[in-house]
Symmetry: C2
Subunit: 317 residues, 2 copies
């Protein structure tokens, strides 16, 4: 089955589509945003596609509203896909539904929230860093998360296949890049490293670069894979994957020096770079420590143009 | 008294300051955002200032996060002030405080929300288009709103005076422009027309251009001024003010053709243009009907660069 278009919003000369679709891999209806640049909407051209993976607590809405990717994507003629971060119907808090005066922005209704709230796994909404909005782009092996916490397969296969068959005249399925923020940066790096050649380029903002070695990753992997299943952990850890990666490797990674999560050791880009150095792959990695920048969308908005340009170069856009 | 800095956030090479200060005109602590471009933060230059007035339901946070004025302001070397929309301490919903993982973004605490929630006028939170977040940039003459609903005087006098004395080395109080969205577009137009020469330029996104003739304005003016006080209404109605305005007049106004509030007759830019034509002032008004754009921040983000450039030209930035 294909997409239901909940809203079509003009943005930087193109269209932002708020889409939902029933997904097999995640076993529930999923929400996402798809930005089609002017080249695809009025230009009638097939355009390359940049997948943007969001971080903890986010849906596909946050970056579409605050990340500023549409600015560069419009100019370069690139479509941007903003998926959700876990198996659930995408929603912003009910408190905003009542008063919000912009019906053109799809935020769902309380009824839809009740009826389509996803898998309804007990406890999945209890913490911001596990369960809802914390899918970590893995396929869970532990009950009850196997019920639909398969964001790895959803992002790698089902979502692109569904998109490319639904938008054959707008999206070029042979020219795809990936990027992401925090947990989504982890997702971008691991999907890129696990599937050589699938993505023309990869970049990341403040990625969780070594989840097996940080509190966020250890909590998530223990829950989704089991505390002792370290071989499975390694399959979804960018730093571990890099150890067996056959180059070449080109990456753009931005991390803010004022990022509290970097300071707390949740991101560990230094571990990733250390392995890259040992393998002689660090030459292709552009790690930029951005002075004073934090972990927020203000940080991403400030460098979104450069990450879109990074993808555009590899995508021939 | 001056400002308390709640957060300093790196954005587009400059700094976004989240400030609070006790305001006399509004009789409570007010929150606002101040964006200082690189020219002012590291360049050591006094920069001109663009006041951005927000619309219904918004605080100064929304546009700072989603409007992308910082992109152009950074490039042109202009500071942007994002005030709140009514007498209250600025907050995003408590529901977001609990889970939000970005401590660098000031959202207040539940305690602060309780202690500094503004005027605590009974019923002020009951509707999205009157009272809280709906100050309409007027000085109320009706009880109980006279208690502090004086956003006109706050924006015109107290806030700029406090800013220019607190940031004498960063802000150039002699080079000020104004813009705004919806209710804030009404605010920008009326402040500009009522104070010739005070602002070097004015622009607006989807302004409420003739509040006396639309449901939003009639509800607000009836409540703040009294239903029969039509002379007071006229003092804060851009279309009425234009009738006695002594030119010359240059304005940039963008309105989306897909804007539901435009379709519902809440904005009425045509009434404003009609009076401008009758007075031979329409030649200086650049009214752009933007195809398909709605009332949201996606609309503003798409044209923010052009509104900053409009101000920059007048400000010599």
């Amino acid at each position: 089955m294909s997409f239901e278009t909940k809203a079509t919003i003009a943005s930087f000369g193109g269209k932002l589509l708020k889409l939902t679709h029933p997904a097999k891999t995640t076993n529930c209806t999923m929400g996402l945003n798809l930005y089609l640049p002017p080249a695809a909407t009025t230009g009638g051209k097939k355009v390359p596609v940049l997948f943007y993976l969001s971080g903890l607590t986010c849906t596909g809405d946050n970056c579409a509203e605050k990340g500023f990717f549409q600015h560069g994507a419009s100019e370069k003629g690139i479509a941007v896909v903003y998926p959700d971060t876990s198996p659930r119907m995408s929603f912003t808090p009910v408190i905003r539904l009542a008063k919000h005066p912009h019906p053109s922005v799809f935020r769902g209704t309380v009824a839809e929230r009740k009826n389509l709230s996803g898998l309804n796994i007990p406890g999945e909404d209890d913490s911001y860093d596990f369960g809802s909005a914390a899918g970590f782009y893995i396929d869970a092996t532990q009950e009850p998360w196997t019920k639909g916490y398969n964001m790895y397969s959803y992002i790698k296969d089902e979502l692109p296949q569904t998109l490319f068959s639904a938008f054959p005249d707008q999206l070029d399925g042979n020219r795809v890049s990936i990027t992401g923020h925090s947990m989504g940066g982890h997702g971008a790096l691991t999907l890129f490293l696990k599937n050589p050649g699938k993505y023309k380029s990869c970049s990341a903002f403040a990625p969780i670069a070594n989840p097996s070695a940080c509190p966020w990753g250890q909590k998530a992997f223990s829950g989704y894979f089991g505390a002792d299943n370290k071989s499975k952990w390694a399959e979804h850890d960018a730093t571990e994957l890099l150890k067996s990666y056959k180059g070449p490797l080109e990456l753009l990674i931005d991390v803010g020096t004022g990022d509290n999560f970097y300071k707390q050791g949740q991101l560990l880009p230094e571990n990733f770079i250390q392995v890259a150095k040992e393998k002689g792959l660090d030459g292709g990695i552009k790690l930029r420590m951005q002075p004073d920048y934090d972990h927020s969308y203000y940080f991403m908005a400030s460098f979104a143009d450069e990450h879109v340009a990074w993808a555009a170069k590899a995508l021939g856009a």
